[in-house]
Amino acid sequence: MTILKRLPRSAPSRETSSGRLVVTDALLLDSGDGSAPERRAFIAIEAGMIAFVSSELPSEWKGAPRVDAAGAWVLPGFICLRTHVGEPGYEWREDVATASLAAAAGGFTTICATPDTNPVNDVRAVTEQLMTRAAGAEGATVLPVGAATRGLEGRHLSEMGDLESAGCVAVSTGDVSVESGQMMRRILEYARSINLRVFTSPAEVSMTRGGLMNEGLASLRLGLPGVPAEAESVAILRDGILSRLAEWPLHFQRVSTAAGVRALEHLAELGIAFTADCTPHHLWFDETAVAGFDAVTRVMPPLRSDRDVAALRGAVASGLISVIATDHSPRTRLEKWVEYSEASPGTTGLETTLGALLELVRRGALPRAAVLRALTRGPADVLGRADLGRIAAGARADLTLVDAGTPWRVEGARLRTRGENHLFEGAALTGLTRSTIVAGRLVDVDDSEAEEVKCAYR
């Protein structure tokens, strides 16, 4: 069952003389929008872009370097709207280089870096540093998300215009909602004026603070302070209504409860525009995983009830939740080998997301088209990027080749991330990334170098 998760180190090398690359025998899937019916094709890549997709390869392309996709699905490269890259300030957990490689190993070609760094990404200088580091990263493209308020404290607007011009693709309120309703309104109004998307993780602050797990039967048994589902639904309703006032749509991150899903449905009934994402772990695990007090199960929002898991799956299937984001939050063992209340919340996710989701598809718990769309077109639409999340002439040559039927078991030590907190450790998943192409370049995610870096930090 154990499969070595190693992508080919092989030729063609990263620098091809012509800047051309051809993916041969590509099985293209319909990702749910009718744009790419299931068919076999050649994908011709030139100068980082898809030149054309065709059933025939013109003779002048015959000499171009090739990637053989026989037997694999070829998908638009995955996009994660919420990755904690650890840099600056938490390099013992992850940095831009390792996050970028871990992302590519998991099939992601674009990751959006959260602003909860140290210092917080609330000024141009931090964004610029990230952009510089991102330019040198060898895997997925890293796009910074700025802080909507200074220090993510929810009190003063950040210099969003500066953040945007330095490269931020959105602003975020951080791990929880903004406490003050008036402040949230101002964020939306100001972001609208500079055309910047606003991400928020709906969690009413006073009901979330101090909570360690879902409030419910399990928390009652374990005596751990709980976070009620209503902390999420209350925040979704308030901020959704404020977004209508400000006339600027919100993107809700990490929706985790049935109550939250109902709140989104209510916003939709009111005609309020929004988008929403959830994480793979909230689609897989429920609160009973906490029973042994293993701190790896401490995530925020907490793992919810089985009813919540079912509601989330329904919302992904229906498209109400149009994005699945990893919320990849690497931590070292030391940050988890402590009392439950002392542990730093979060789990890795970049390299287990595809396998977890395709396993859920295999079990019939999620429809394939919705899942693939939620990793590609869904997040591309949130970012307003018509050149991402699709396979068509003129799109960026971000592609993921997937061996969709391969069963494998998660062994944390084999993953590329520097993080050591794998909620999916030991889980039997389905589907592996065979190769990842970022802007026409085949990523070499061989982990020997990454391993050296990891060791240096241990």
Binding site: E215, L217, G223, L224, G292, V338, S341, E342
Partner: protein, 320 residues
Amino acid sequence: MTSAFELRHLLGLQGMAAGTITELLDLATRMKEIGERPIKKVPSLRGKTVCTLFVEASTRTRTSFEVAAKRLSADTMSLTATASSLTKGETLLDTAKNLEAMGPDIIILRHSAAGAPHFLSRHVRAAVVNAGDGRHEHPTQALLDLFTIRERLGRLAGLKVAIVGDIANSRVARSNIFALGAMGARVQVSGPGTMLPPGLEQLGVTVHRQIESAIAGADVVMMLRIQKERMGSDLFPSDREYFRRFGLTRERLRLAKPNVLVMHPGPINRGVEITADVADGPESVILDQVKNGVAVRMAVLYVLAQRTTSDLQPAAGDAP
């Protein structure tokens, strides 16, 4: 059923079978007899080392465990630390590993974080006894409560037990709800709405908004200490109002059965959750609880020590 002698640790009472609990209570009866002898000591645990690690203040529980260990002739060591001094420097794991290097057979842990004993049990060879973890469980307290009830009333099955107070935040309530439920007693809880979390019924108890209906016809009334140190301003408005609404007074106690037992895990806030005349009255078995605590803890140490002799396995990493 798991025999009590097969227990590797005592982390909590959730899921413990009635037969296992009965076995521990029966053993405690024999241990209690030792405490009534002129020479209160037997050699059962001679050569064993019992270590108390209290990362949350508690003189009474620690003393009770130490007396229990000494009556069984175990060597005892004691380590106290505030949680803050631990977080400043050494982690709980480091502290425990250091302790372990001294070779204890049993570690008794009191900690303000729920689950701390479970965490410890995954990383040390010694048997771990939970002496109270956050708001989670306090298994030896519940065992001594059951022991005291059984001793006085002769049985547990079918009894009506009222538990009044901060059910949401009480580890004593939680352990008692699990254990009394396993033994077939009917538990009725009451307290201010802020202290009765939604879904309590799923633990097999009935919830009463008024103390009067909870204690009507009760065989046992167990009052919980109002933990001022754990209270935010949002749990109840004042001591005075709490007493008026939920304090155990002599008038209210008349609603219970004539031979009712009044219990309290201590320390008591007289005039807040219970009046002085009830706490010191003929129905009160509060001091019996303290006395029986030693016997019950002797029983627990005794069974765990048998296990550590026969089964010195290496610690199983971090696998649950």
